[in-house]
């Protein structure tokens, strides 16, 4: 009877045993890397908008308060997107002929909202409320990152559940005094942990990690 397989098959067989283990490990690693990549999480990906609105200019340079546009943030689950009228409070006076702002003027003229591209969003099965976070000393920039430095807005954090839990498990590492919540220049002090614990007591902040806190 002739040989069915060449001698090299022995080597191939041996390699394939270890190869399979390496392959599965590599696939697992690749899946992990992919799930953490901006491709999936959108982190640091600046989105093109109908109007190239710059937070860097309006907030960082001109010093507008977050609440000038996002008016509902202290009282509502949603921070609120400004109506075109808010833009026009200034832009009926300044940059009135700028071609960049034509969509804003068109929106005002035709009474049609500007269709902004959403940057930060949590899934529908997550209950999230801006007002409770803001009122308990969680700053805008804690979640949204250095908005004052963003020419076009990007997502600064993954908004994945693990990221939420980072703070929900250890709020003392992140909370700051209420009066600094909208301060984009605030720097966490050396004694953040001690301050955080003190603020937790003062603001009655609990570490809420029950499923139903967010999945109602």
């Amino acid at each position: 009877m002739s040989q069915i397989f060449h001698r090299s098959t022995n080597t191939i067989a041996r390699i394939s045993i270890y190869g399979a283990a390496v392959l599965f490990a590599a696939l697992g690693w690749a899946a992990y890397k992919l799930s953490a990549s901006p491709y999936v999480t959108d982190v640091n990906v600046a989105k093109d908008q109908p109007v190239p609105f710059s937070h860097k200019h309006h907030v960082g340079e001109l010093g507008l308060d977050c609440r000038y546009c996002h008016t509902a943030v202290e009282n509502s689950s949603s921070a609120g997107m400004p109506p075109t009228q808010t833009c026009m409070t200034c832009h009926s006076q300044v940059w009135v002929n700028s071609p960049m702002l034509e969509p804003v003027r068109a929106s005002y003229r035709d009474d049609k909202s500007i269709q902004w591209i959403r940057v930060n969003a949590v899934p529908d099965f997550v209950y999230f409320n801006h007002s409770i976070h803001v009122n308990k000393g969680v700053a805008c920039v804690t979640c949204h990152g250095p908005v004052g430095d963003m020419p076009l807005t990007w997502r600064a954090n993954t908004l994945q559940m693990g990221w939420c839990l980072d703070c929900h498990r250890n709020p003392e590492k992140f909370v700051r005094p209420r009066e600094n919540v909208f301060d984009i220049h605030y720097k966490a002090p050396e004694n953040q942990e001690a301050l955080g614990l003190k603020l937790m007591k003062e603001y009655k902040i609990q570490s809420l990690t029950n499923c139903t806190t967010c999945h109602r």
Partner: protein, 453 residues
């Protein structure tokens, strides 16, 4: 020690060559009987039905099934437990009987193991489909994830994932390792090149040297040792899915032993259902003898009685506990809207199998075949009664409800039977249904047994 008057496990007059010829010819040279094509066609049609039902399920969602609140578990769990139970006979035969050196197991262990594998494949589908989003199945595994969550390790449902996946892995390994010498035989006897190469790849270079046999024996023994606890543990964990809940009719300590006995009961019934036609159509009466059938009948009788004891204790416990919900659960089973199924279950699982006490009936192949079918149905009814009658009326009468399976439930269920039979037909066609190498080992046994017996 077997008594000397027992019928032999292999009919006299066989030699090494005749055993090898007879078994390998089914795969290699003999023309498949018309029945094979007929049976395969039906099985394959059912498999296509499964594909259709599952595709529609994935598109639309589990709402196409009859499940509702309060009966959230319906057919998916009934069928899961039924299939997983059927698999248990294969593991019992191949592992425990191997360790107990019961030689009679040799001719039935190969296809009993195959049956285990195929049954586990069918069983595994149901919880996955029942999850609603089967593509997120990996959420059941503990792995570092973006949610910073581990599975709830205190839940038996998580243990179930480990139990069933371990079971599937060990069963596959056991089956495959046992196949290697036979695959080499097929490789060597194959006439065409494709057969030589394909069997050759899976034979993994087996040459039958003393070293090979030594390693083979060691590996088999180790795997048997690994598989043995699984016979008991898998269905114990499955029973915890029920017993750890507070629902009346589930929350009892009798569940683990009663489930394990039920699993072996239904498993042997299925082995019987399959082995009787196989031995007839392929002329394997010399290898699967009356002694095998009778032994299996005895195992069924014994496990059936344990199951009957389980039913009895359940009823006794319900009245003895004085708990009104438990008492109502039993009364509801007896006289409620699903009473028909309960009494059918008693008839199928307890009354009819008592015929096996009589040797004349126990050695009648036709009677055994019918009993095995009846027990298969009875064990399915048992799971239906446990799942549905317990859930549909629990504590609050205001939340009572009824459960009616839809045509998609039936399509999925019969579809998995199609999957099971398709795999089985392919197995019969392409692999030796009886272990050639182990049967060769039996050739000289009958004479030796007579001398010592």
């Amino acid at each position: 020690m077997q008594p000397a008057h027992n019928p032999p496990v292999i009919e006299p007059g066989h030699t090494y060559a005749s055993v090898t010829d007879k078994i390998s010819s089914i795969v290699l040279s003999r023309k498949q009987p018309k029945g094979w094509y007929f049976g395969f066609a039906i099985a394959f049609a059912l498999l296509m039905l499964l594909t259709y039902a599952v595709t529609y399920l994935l598109v639309v969602g589990v709402g196409i099934w009859g499940i509702n609140i309060p009966v959230g578990w319906g057919f998916a769990i009934v069928n899961f437990v039924w299939w997983i139970g059927i698999g248990h006979a294969g593991t019992l035969i191949s592992a425990i009987l191997l360790l107990l050196r019961q030689k009679w197991r040799t001719s039935i262990n190969r296809f009993a193991e195959a049956m285990t594998l195929f049954a586990v494949a069918c069983a595994g589908m149901f919880p996955l489909l029942h999850m609603g989003r089967p593509w997120l199945f990996f959420w059941m595994a503990p792995y570092p994830n973006t949610m910073y969550l581990w599975p709830q390790f205190r839940s038996p449902l998580v243990w179930d994932v480990f139990a069933v996946s371990t079971y599937a892995t060990v069963s596959l390994m056991f089956w495959f390792v046992g196949l290697i010498p036979d695959l080499a035989t097929l490789r060597d006897r194959s006439k065409n090149r494709a057969g030589k190469v394909i069997y050759g790849i899976f034979a993994m270079g087996w040459r039958g040297s003393a070293v090979h046999w030594h390693r083979y024996e060691t590996a088999s023994l180790l795997l048997a040792g690994l598989a043995t606890p699984l016979v008991v543990s898998v269905h114990t964990v499955v029973s915890f899915d029920f017993a750890a809940a507070l629902v009346p009719g589930w929350h009892t300590t009798i569940f683990p032993p009663y489930f394990v006995a039920g699993a072996i009961y239904s498993g042997f019934a299925m082995v019987m259902t399959l082995s009787i036609p196989i031995r007839k159509f392929y002329g394997l009466e010399d290898f699967i003898t009356m002694r095998h059938l009778e032994n299996m009948a005895k195992v069924m009788l014994a496990t059936g009685l344990i199951v009957a004891y389980g039913y009895m204790m359940e009823t006794f416990g319900a009245f003895y506990s004085g708990n009104q919900y438990d008492r109502y659960m039993v009364l509801n089973r007896w006289f409620g809207p699903y009473a028909f199924f309960y009494w059918m279950l008693i008839l199928c699982n307890i009354a009819i199998p008592q015929m096996m006490w009589f040797k004349r009936l126990r050695t009648n192949v036709a009677v055994l075949f019918v009993i095995s079918l009846v027990v298969n149905i009875g064990m399915w009814l048992e799971r239906f009664v446990i799942v549905v009658t317990s859930l549909h009326r629990d504590f609050l009468p205001s939340s009572w409800g009824m459960y009616t399976p839809t045509r998609w439930d039936w399509a999925t269920y019969t579809g998995t039977i199609g999957l099971f039979l398709t795999l089985l037909f392919l197995f019969i066609r392409y692999l030796p249904v009886i272990s050639i190498s182990e049967m060769r080992g039996l050739v000289e046994e009958p004479s030796g047994e007579k001398k010592t017996g």
